[in-house]
């Protein structure tokens, strides 16, 4: 509930600030009011004093109204000794004072007064004004602030709670999914709504990562299964041959069995070799040995090496130089890539097929005029140990194209699988398009 905690924390801060604000506002208003009242009291005193000077003190001239008292002490001694100025009196004025001075029309319960004491017509004139209004007013301010604060808090808390619930639900969903993933259910996805807030973006990132992980995980799982399958057959044959050799006494048959056993062992080693090469390539250490490579030179070298092999196997061979390109790479790895593609073409097409090594300004590849593969298989065949003939009747470790892909990846080249564009047959064209090429 971290988001709700945040909301509450923020709200407490807000309320504290509001309280401080209320106190400050109340103080400022109180001071302002006092000053204003004092000003008005001074002006009023001048008016009353001038009237008393002219007409003498007549109580009926000063009818009491709410909050003002005027009294007059016709005593010259008092006038000489009385202090002058404004005095603040806290609390109610004592009753006897009211009585003695014949104060009238006032409510003695009104507390807090300002009195202006001064001299008028040789006597003491006192005018008092009650502060109840201003006290009432400045006392009201904090209450208003508190009321507003409470309202805002309640509303903010409600909104915050609703929002935090949303966020919390999303977070709960994420942790549930991650816990499921931890238990091995890799197909789980967070799949939040598309509000596109930060949490949705995060959820999307998590989903993308999970997608990628699941693919990798399945690849590894399939690879392990397929490799086990690819190794089981030659190992079973190896064992069979050795057993036969052990049981037989005819030296010729023993030798023949041992030779066949060796052949199976070599096959096992070849599978491992290809597997290890892929693993090595994926660590990215090959880059250290990259040098300037002319793709046309590589293609020509491949042609001179493989043309006789391809032709002797009953296939056609051609070299298509449609452009010239140089790259940063490893010529031996690129040779292996092309030789694997040629071997794949021989393995998966029938004699009579024409196999072309193609080089242009963007990369290098191999095309054949065979039956090709279905569109939806283009993605799949480059995964390790994927063979399209599910029965696995044709020889091959199924690692050929995966190795090609690893070599292309090591060169930051993308592997493009399409139909053969130079043939009327569907065919297959595997092309490694390099990211960076020099055409000079």
């Amino acid at each position: 509930m971290s988001s709700l905690r945040q909301t509450i924390g923020l709200l407490v801060c807000l309320l504290a600030l509001q309280l401080l604000g209320a106190m400050a506002a109340s103080t400022i208003i109180h001071v302002e009011f006092s000053n204003q009242i004092k000003d008005e009291l001074s002006k009023r005193f001048k008016v009353v004093a001038s009237e008393v000077e002219m007409n003498g003190f007549r109580p009926e001239d000063f009818p009491s109204y709410r909050g003002e008292v005027v009294f007059f002490q016709a005593d010259e001694t008092s006038a000489a000794t009385a202090p002058e100025g404004i005095f603040e009196v806290r609390g109610a004025i004592e009753d006897d004072l009211w009585e003695e001075n014949k104060l009238f029309g006032t409510n003695p319960d009104w507390d807090d007064w300002y009195f202006f004491v001064g001299e008028a017509a040789g006597s003491v004139l006192v005018i008092g004004t009650n502060l109840a209004y201003s006290s009432l007013f400045s006392g009201l301010i904090p209450n208003v602030f508190i009321a507003v604060g409470v309202c805002i808090s309640v509303i903010a808390l409600a909104i915050g709670f609703a929002m935090s619930r949303r966020a919390q639900n999303k977070l709960d969903r994420m942790s549930t999914v991650l816990a499921e993933i931890g238990r091995g259910n890799l197909h789980q996805r967070v799949a939040l709504s598309t509000d596109r807030d930060d949490l949705d973006d995060l959820a999307q990132d998590i989903d993308n990562t999970l997608e990628h992980l699941e693919v990798l995980f399945n690849q590894t799982k399939n690879l392990a299964v397929n490799i086990a399958h690819d190794l089981k057959t030659p190992l079973a044959r190896l064992r069979l041959r050795l057993e036969n050799a052990l049981l037989d006494t005819d030296p010729d048959i023993v030798a023949q069995n041992v030779e066949l056993a060796l052949k199976q062992a070599d096959h096992v080693i070849a599978v491992f070799e290809a597997f290890l090469r892929i693993a090595r390539l994926e660590t990215g250490t090959a880059k250290k040995r990259f040098a300037d490579v002319d793709l046309v030179a590589v293609a020509k070298e491949i042609a001179s090496t493989f043309a006789p092999v391809v032709e002797d196997a009953g296939y056609g061979f051609e070299l298509r130089i449609n452009g010239r390109a140089r790259i940063k790479g490893d010529a031996v790895l690129l040779t292996q890539m092309l030789s694997n593609l040629i071997e794949n073409a021989i393995r998966h097409t029938d004699p009579g097929t024409v196999i072309s090594v193609v080089v242009d300004y963007a990369g290098v590849g191999v095309a054949d005029t065979g039956k090709g593969i279905p569109d939806d298989a283009y993605e799949q065949v480059v995964k390790p140990s994927v063979r399209l003939d599910a029965s696995r009747t044709k020889p091959g470790a199924g690692l050929g194209l995966a190795l090609v892909k690893s070599i292309a990846d090591a060169h930051e080249a993308t592997l493009e699988l399409t139909e053969n564009p130079w043939s009327e047959e569907r065919g297959l064209f595997v092309f490694a398009r390099f990211r960076e090429v020099w055409t000079t």
């Binding site: 491992f272 290890l276 001179s304 006789p308 021989i346």
Partner: protein
């Protein structure tokens, strides 16, 4: 030949030692790097075979120390399967050849023979022509003649014949040919070597009615010129 073998696996060490002894070599087998280095610096060997991962001092360090002590005995480096880095490191440290485990014994035997110092001494690496009985190779003009008759060879066939003639009387395995002629450190499953040897034979043997390149079953080829 006097051969130093550094190999810590008792089974593989015994297998190599017995095999090499059977073909008439003298083998000193060490299972730790320090002892092998002492032997290599104090005795005169024709070929040194070093395994990479051994106790006390690894094969690479033995090789580097040997080379820095100016001991130029040919070294065959044994590396782990598929470990390109190991191989490159070995060659950079001064190894003359390498072999990835597991290997066929015939492969090791052929490579050791090729490295043999006495055999190598006869080789003139900067020769401009090679002759063997009635076959003559002009390395500058890339021309081949047999019994005075010009034989038209393409680049690969020429280099193949050159490799054979330089290793006259010694077995060349498929892998050795792939490395020497094609510069490939992997084994294409297609019959690259067989095809090119067969084409070379059709040009250099067939018209002359005899055999100069012998197939050694399960191992490779032998040029008898």
């Amino acid at each position: 030949m006097q051969i130093l073998l550094l190999e810590d696996d008792p089974e593989i060490g015994d297998w190599i030692q017995c095999g090499l002894k059977r073909s008439g070599q003298v083998v000193d087998w060490f299972s730790n790097g320090r002892e092998a280095l002492i032997a290599a610096t104090t005795s005169d060997y024709d070929v040194v075979i070093l395994d990479r991962m051994v106790p006390e001092l690894d094969g690479l360090s033995v090789l580097k120390t040997m080379r820095s002590a100016r001991i130029e005995t040919p070294v065959l480096f044994l590396t782990a399967l598929g470990d390109v880095e190991d191989r490159v490191e070995g060659l950079e440290a001064g190894a003359d050849d390498y072999l990835a485990k597991p290997f066929a014994f015939s492969e090791l035997e052929a490579r050791v023979a090729a490295l043999g110092r006495r055999a190598n001494r006869k080789l003139t690496t900067d020769a401009v022509s090679l002759s063997s009985k009635d076959i003559h190779l002009d390395l500058l003009k890339q021309k081949c003649t047999r019994r005075g008759v010009a034989v038209d060879l393409n680049t690969k066939e020429f280099r193949l014949l050159e490799a054979f003639m330089r290793s006259k009387g010694r077995i060349l395995t498929r892998n050795m040919l792939l490395e020497k002629v094609w510069g490939l450190n992997f084994d294409p499953t297609t019959s690259v070597v067989e095809t090119h040897v067969s084409r070379l034979r059709s040009k250099i043997e067939k018209p002359f009615g005899d055999q100069v390149i012998k197939t050694v079953r399960g191992t490779g080829y032998l040029f008898e010129g």
